[in-house]
């Protein structure tokens, strides 16, 4: 019984853990602009994150090695250091986006400008990370984040033209009259939002924190393979809500305030309260994951003691890096820069950094010295290789597309 409780809590945490500022912003933007016309990208991203989360989870459970250990072991110290710098920059930007997002959510609930909330949010985040148990943070925020499902209920309540939605979702080419580069720019940011590198850093390090062993293999596999797709569905429901309400009006969704409007239309007061609560939980959860990931990356590259399973003073450098990342993120948001803008820049950076993160995972997942009989089967390798190609194409195309389309303007 306890086992099933653990499993369901793990799945809930994965559902909430999938969503972050990037998913919210990109899904609403593409929903308003293309309807469900980019749903295939979300599907692709979910398949990718499932495949690589399963591999890195397996490597942790069997060999006990988190992803950044593998990056240094397989890429060597120099390439791994370049990857470290890039991933660290992207992850700190992603953290800044989450902190900014939380501040905007509080602004929407209180009417007080978000710059006022940035420092309290960052300090509160640090205190939670310093004091509260790893599993408790994961489970509480994961559960609370499920409130975002109110988007799915809203769509049903707004009684849309289901056949039009299905028609949009079936298409995999740009709608007539839409410029192709812009379409692919949005496709890449959406894909990067689903596969953001910090997700595997956090998941694999979390596996070490929670002391996974080979006998937890089935459980961790179920967690990833159920949790991430359900998370993907939640992301799509944000896109669908924007498609139902904003696409017919021909408007864009560029701020969190616009993103929550469809829920306000469906359920008024109650809907707004639920959706703001859900966004708050999801974004605080993502801020926790990104801040911890900064510490995990650096500690694992240099071999420092790390993690919340150790007494904090025995992982001093790890905790210093986590606190330092929160501080830098705070300073970025405090400049007053639009959190949505930070999110978009972070997503383009993430797209570029993806291949060097996922390649070592794929290589080690085939290495019997690490995994013995638990190496990749044909299916895992086929999915892994196809996704690696997609990741490479996205990485190469990301910056040229960002420049030519003026960030999807």
């Amino acid at each position: 019984m306890k086992k099933y409780l653990g499993l369901s809590l793990g799945i809930l945490a994965a559902v909430g853990g999938f969503l972050d500022m990037g998913d919210i912003v990109t899904n609403a933007a593409i929903g308003a602009r293309y309807g469900l016309g980019l749903a295939w990208v979300v599907l692709l991203g979910v398949i990718g994150i499932c495949a690589y989360a399963e591999m890195s989870g397996r490597i942790v459970a069997v060999a006990g090695r988190p992803v950044y250990d593998l990056v240094r072991e397989r890429l060597g110290p120099r390439a791994a250091l370049l990857n470290l710098i890039a991933s660290l920059l992207v992850t700190i930007l992603t953290l800044a986006a989450q902190i900014g997002g939380v501040a905007v959510v509080i602004e929407l609930a209180s009417g007080v400008p978000h710059v006022v909330w940035v420092a309290p949010v960052a300090i509160g985040l640090w205190i939670v990370m310093w004091r509260v148990k790893f599993e408790k943070i994961e489970q509480v925020l994961g559960l609370a984040g499920l409130a975002v499902a109110v988007f799915a209920v809203s769509i049903w309540w707004l009684d849309p033209d289901w056949s039009a939605l299905a028609g949009q979702a079936a298409g995999i080419t740009p709608p007539a009259g839409e410029p192709v580069p812009t379409y692919f720019y949005y496709a890449i940011t959406l894909f990067a939002a689903a596969m953001t590198p910090y997700e595997v850093f956090f998941l694999s390090s979390g596996g070490v924190e929670e002391r996974w062993s080979a006998k937890d293999l089935r459980m961790q596999r179920a967690t990833a393979l159920i949790g991430f797709p359900v998370g993907g569905l939640l992301a799509l429901s944000i896109a669908a809500a924007a498609a139902v309400v904003m696409l017919p009006l021909g408007m864009d969704a560029q701020s969190l305030g616009q993103v929550v409007l469809p829920v306000g239309l469906a359920f008024g007061m109650a809907g707004m309260i639920v959706v703001l609560f859900g966004f708050f939980a999801v974004l605080v959860g993502a801020a926790f994951e990104t801040a911890m990931s900064c510490g995990y990356m650096l500690s694992q590259y240099f071999g420092w003691p790390w993690g919340k399973r150790l007494p904090p003073k025995r992982a001093a450098r790890f905790h210093a890096v986590v606190a330092g990342s929160v501080l830098i993120a705070l300073l970025i948001v405090q400049t007053g820069v639009d959190p949505v803008m930070v999110t978009e820049v972070a997503l383009v950076g993430a797209a570029v950094a993806l291949p060097l993160t996922y390649l070592p995972v794929l290589i080690v997942a085939n290495d019997r010295q690490y995994l013995g009989d638990h190496v990749n089967g044909r299916f895992s390798n086929a999915v892994g290789l196809v996704m690696m190609v997609v990741v490479l194409v996205a990485a190469i195309a990301a910056i040229p597309l960002m420049i030519t389309t003026g960030m999807g303007a």
Partner: protein, 132 residues
């Protein structure tokens, strides 16, 4: 030391199976990475690995500029640079996906930078409680 079989292996590839691996003391306590190895010339002219070297200053010797410059800067900003710590090959207990060493060797190779940070982090309330 018997080089025919060392921790269940008749040969070990320094580049892919030893360098850059995690070093852990018992109870999965992280010590550092195999940042470099110490080679000694034997009387018969062959090179023998005699110790693992741990520490960013050992790593510096293995990377080109400007990576090296960056690592040096990092060390200087954190109160270093400190000379590399040496773990004698006889203190290696097992070689798996990580390199396990004895508790004493792990203790002796502990990082001075970690000690400097600990002196600071220790002062924050709650720093001494058990991990979760």
């Amino acid at each position: 030391m018997n080089w025919i079989e060392w921790h269940g292996r008749d040969r070990i590839d320094l580049g892919t199976q030893l360098l850059d691996r995690q070093i852990t003391a018992p109870e999965a306590e992280p010590v550092g990475k195999v940042d470099d190895v110490e080679l000694t010339r034997r009387p018969d002219g062959a090179l023998e690995v005699t110790a693992l070297l741990v520490g960013t200053s050992a790593l510096c010797e293995r990377v080109p500029q400007p990576t090296r410059w960056l690592l040096r800067l990092g060390m200087r900003l954190t109160g270093g640079p400190d000379s590399p710590r040496r773990i004698d090959l006889d203190d290696v207990v097992d070689v798996k996906s990580d390199v396990e060493v004895t508790a004493e060797a792990g203790e002796a190779a502990a990082s001075p930078t970690e000690r400097r940070f600990r002196a600071f982090v220790e002062r924050i309330p709650g720093a001494g409680r058990a991990g979760s």
